[in-house]
Symmetry: C2
């Protein structure tokens, strides 16, 4: 296809990409830098940018330029253009189905629900946030109504975040995972000595985290690290992908693993083919694939004994409190299995049970099998059944995650577990291709793995559908078995080895 | 006038104000945070925002809504609306006179000229930057041609930055100043002991600067301080006005006075009437008035002995190197009079001679009395005549300031000297109204002065024409005499007092 035939479309996509990046800069600044007084104007600036962005998707000239490009694209078109037209067509169809005034009304409702959530967590008074969650359920059903082709009310949202995933194909996968994990948690729960209590001074934690992030391949010429209340990674362009970290002075692991996690997200974005810049292809393939690249570096690599053989001496240079700790002790300490109430603090073995129960409960809410009034008790019962613990109140129970309070109900949790599942499947494929990765990790050589991930995952951005990406990278379709094999191999050994024996 | 009649116009102005703020956030981030790899995408994002902003000024609906509001405004209209309509009419007329494609061509030329300037300063090879400066002069004449009502080719640019100022009214003012300053510099040149060489550690300088900026009234709930290569102040909204500072580890004064200077700019913006938010009235009145508020705090206050009686003990807590320094020594050290080659490092007495010679030379260039080829020698001659020093090369001569390399020639320097002149006239008026300000400064009480400035300058934003603002605040029209009286009183005393006698 003639490059000229797609130029008008690309110019429109470039403008949208620029406005996306502007939105990201404003949001990053809001989380990282903005003084308290800046909030009101920033809200207005974000709304203006969102409106301009929205107008561009709804401009009939974009649809016209897309049609023209599709018409000019023959069967022998280049793959990048084919992928671009596929993705833009998908995004445009989705954007046009949701009426602008509905988006505006839901945005206002979402802001109200978010404020009520913040207040309910602080005061323990939940009537108002419950009423608003009922309203959010109505919005979620209305949203599903804009996409009549799906089987389940959650499917449109799930498909938006994780293309190709549906309630019908996720349920058996998650059920299998749960049936194995519940007994494993009971079997492997262990509380070895944690890492020594600090002090782990803030500046040293930031420096140490950044040193390890650079060691695994995060490029600071095209990135930077800051602190924020909730860690995140954000992309302003191929040459500027930033991470944030949350530092807890008495606990080294919180900042360290969140840094590795966000560096994983950021390395993915830094590795996308630069030719995709200015188009939707420059994004990650899906929520699940993005999460897989974060969890791969955080857990599959970052919580391995090989990684700690490399990292511990480096950390000991930053933190005198770690003097005398052995690699075996550190490895055990960062792999404690302890059922808890809070998803974001969960270990590898319990983590997916937190996710799967949220997934199941949101489907029950959407199906009408569960009312908002019954949700707190259903949440508590499920924690007791799966993890053997019960929330003490609302804030460490059904109100702990923000997703349902501000956003729609549905589609926001499956990506976390899909990510864990894929992370193991992808690393297993890399190990098959590359041989002794543990030897590399112990020597601090993460280049071979990074190069393999760049070739098989990063560079493709959103150009391949998730199913194809997984198949091309791993030789098979999505499966939980590599993940279960990984957990079993690691935690059986940890549970059976004598203390100090690893 | 009915608020409804102006609502459509205000909505359009709000959108422009939001895009202005977005541009400022992108630019601030570029100077303060952005990693090296981010530049390419950032340039594109800034260009997109500039285009969207430009389209809004050129949208015929804005002109229509302005006309409608002007039509609805009776003689008894409220003063804010009258001011708003006056300022928007002025900005719109100016915007419509300059053809969009000319703006785009000049932007491209400006970027080329800027790059050539950077290279010429580094290599000393000036042929290319001279050719480009000749082209810039052509652009400057073309720009003047869009505004046929003025007498001098520089007038349109001068009037844009400093409304009401013209070559005809600035020339006598600057000539008077120069005729007095040249002999004063010769008389008062003195090199008392500077402040002790540090170390003045970076973190301590940032903390000390911020402590003093807060003491004079910079509100950190609505601001923040960062480092950047060139200090600046920038406004993202009434509640978010930031400053940046440049720290030189071995020299305390560079960071300290630039912090007070930028805090002065920022306090002005923080003090504008919040009702002006989202309109062009929320800006400063002019380049000169803005500079006056920065120089007032930097010099009139920040280089006074009363201020140092307050500040020195505080600085001594941050910097052991200052132990044993007396207020008199410090006051002398920060008021050395030394003719130099670099404008931005000049003391109060020599500073305006740097500005006036640039102003005169740019008029000579525009008048054709001076060619670009003759500029280096004319520059050197004038430095020798006015300040008794000669540049060693191009970089500390005619290439030292960026203004002509990237921007147009004309209108960019007069504001610095207008600011100095106004700063003295305005502080003299405040002293007449408030009595013993030095006693307040010594006690660290800057509230009375700040309240007077808020009432007489800050809160009016751009609502009053400069001439009226000066008259209302000081009781007279713009005059250099208060500034000359200030310099004479201060530096005669410094020159005649025995060392240690102050």
């Amino acid at each position: 296809m003639d490059a000229k035939a797609i130029a008008p479309l690309r110019a429109r996509l470039q403008e949208i990409a620029d406005l996306d990046a502007v939105d990201s800069v404003l949001t990053w600044d809001q989380s990282v830098c903005m003084p308290p007084g800046g909030g009101e104007a920033r809200g207005r600036q974000l709304a203006t940018v969102a409106r301009l962005r929205h107008e561009r998707w709804h401009d009939p000239r974009l649809a016209r330029d897309l049609e023209a490009a599709e018409g000019a694209q023959g069967a022998d078109g280049d793959p990048m253009t084919a992928a671009l037209l596929r993705v833009v067509r998908r995004d445009l169809e989705r954007a046009l189905r949701v009426p602008p005034d509905w988006v505006a009304r839901f945005a206002a409702h979402g802001a109200t629900a978010y404020d009520a959530w913040v207040e309910a967590r602080a005061t323990g008074r939940v009537e108002r946030v419950q009423q608003l969650l009922e309203k959010t359920l109505e919005y979620s059903h209305a949203y599903a109504g804009f996409f009549p082709g799906y089987d389940h009310p959650a499917d449109a949202l799930i498909d938006e975040a994780d293309e190709g995933a549906t309630v019908a194909n996720l349920r058996p996968l998650f059920a299998r995972l749960r049936s194995v994990l519940v007994p494993w948690v009971a079997e492997w729960t262990s509380e070895p000595d944690p890492l020594p209590r600090g002090p782990y001074p803030r500046e040293a934690q930031l420096a140490a985290g950044l040193e390890l992030a650079q060691a695994i391949g995060y490029d600071l010429q095209r990135g930077r690290q800051d602190e924020s209340p909730h860690p995140f990674a954000v992309r302003f362009g191929h040459g500027d992908v930033r991470i944030t970290t949350r530092i807890v002075p008495e606990d080294l692991t919180e900042g360290l693993f969140s840094t590795l996690h966000e560096a994983g997200h950021a390395m993915y974005e830094q590795g996308v083919d630069p030719a995709f810049e200015g188009t939707p292809l420059a994004e990650g393939a899906s929520a699940g694939v993005h999460e897989s690249q974060a969890r791969l570096w955080e857990n599959q690599v970052g919580r391995s004994s090989a990684f700690w053989a490399f990292a511990l001496p480096r950390l000991q240079r930053h933190f005198p409190a770690l003097a005398g700790v052995t690699v075996g002790q550190a490895y055990r300490a960062v792999n404690r299995v302890v059922p808890s109430l809070i998803r974001t603090e969960a270990d590898e073995v319990t983590y997916n049970l937190h996710v799967i129960l949220r997934f199941d409960l949101e489907l029950d809410l959407l199906d009408g099998r569960l009312s908002v009034a019954e949700l707190p008790e259903a949440w508590a019962e499920r924690y007791a059944a799966d993890l053997g613990v019960r929330p003490r109140g609302h804030a460490d129970g059904w109100l702990q995650d923000v997703h349902w309070f501000g956003g729609l109900v549905g589609g926001s949790f499956q990506g976390y577990t899909l990510g864990n599942v894929m992370s193991a499947q992808i690393l297993a494929a890399a190990r098959r291709a590359l041989g002794d990765l543990d030897g590399c990790f112990m020597a601090g050589d993460f280049g071979p793995l990074r190069a393999w991930l760049t070739e098989n995952v990063y560079r493709h951005g959103r150009a391949k559908p998730v199913e194809q990406l997984v198949r091309d990278a791993t030789g098979g379709s999505l499966s939980v078995e590599p993940y279960l094999a990984y957990l079993h191999g690691k935690y059986e050994a940890l549970a059976n080895a004598p203390v100090g024996g690893i």
